[in-house]
């Protein structure tokens, strides 16, 4: 690899970093939204379609 090592490993490293960051960010965002929805549900705030029929 010689003098190209920095450029090759640099490209692999940056690609891995961005790929990992964007995947983790999307996954973490989903987890946070799921928790928020669960908290709302626990507080009794539900979508109309998710409410039991006799509650309406």
């Amino acid at each position: 690899m010689g003098s190209y090592a920095f450029y090759v490993y640099g490209s692999y490293g940056f690609a891995a970093l961005v790929t990992l960051a964007v995947t983790l960010w999307t996954w973490a965002d989903g987890r946070a939204r799921q928790k928020e929805l669960a908290a709302l549900e626990a507080a009794g705030i539900r979508r109309r379609s998710a409410r039991p029929k006799d509650a309406e």
Binding site: S3, Y4, Y7, G10, S11, F14, A15, V18, T19, A21, V22, T23, W25, T26, W27, D29, G30, R33, Q34, E36, L37, L40, A43, I45, R46, R47
Partner: protein
Amino acid sequence: MMCYTIMSISAIGTLVWRHPLADVAAKAAAPLGAAFTLLALVTGSLWGKPMWGTWWVWDARLTSVFILFLMYLGLIALNRAMDEPSKAARVTAILILVGFVNIPIIKFSVDWWNTLHQSASVLRLDGPAIDPEFLRPLLVMAIAFTLLFFTLHLMAMRNEIWRRRIASQRRMAARMANREE
């Protein structure tokens, strides 16, 4: 470029059919497009230094891809700057469609202008000009990153739908609380 094209199709869906999922798709794709474009710019620069002897030149291909990156950032900022979701969706959709003019410029910039960046070497009428030893891993990675994009896009769309559901449930809870007072 594929991401921006998907956003442009979504923008047509927002403006013509006013389908809420079209706006969800465009909004979810923008950060992914920005990340993938940044990746292309940085790794391209890392390739350019040993091959061209420079990290960066303001030639047509590199500049038009940099503009694409700025477009993604601008679209994200514009969408977040507006309070009313339906207005934000329409304004963002218009800007997405205006920005689509940059996509053919990126593709054909190397043919239209004299650039340091080499001319098209994969999608050519007379077949790829790259040695199979380079072409095969290039195509494998292109497929891999395309699949990664679609997976992340679907995940981000689901997150955006949840975000909107949360906002709607909060509004509903606030209305119910006001009625009880």
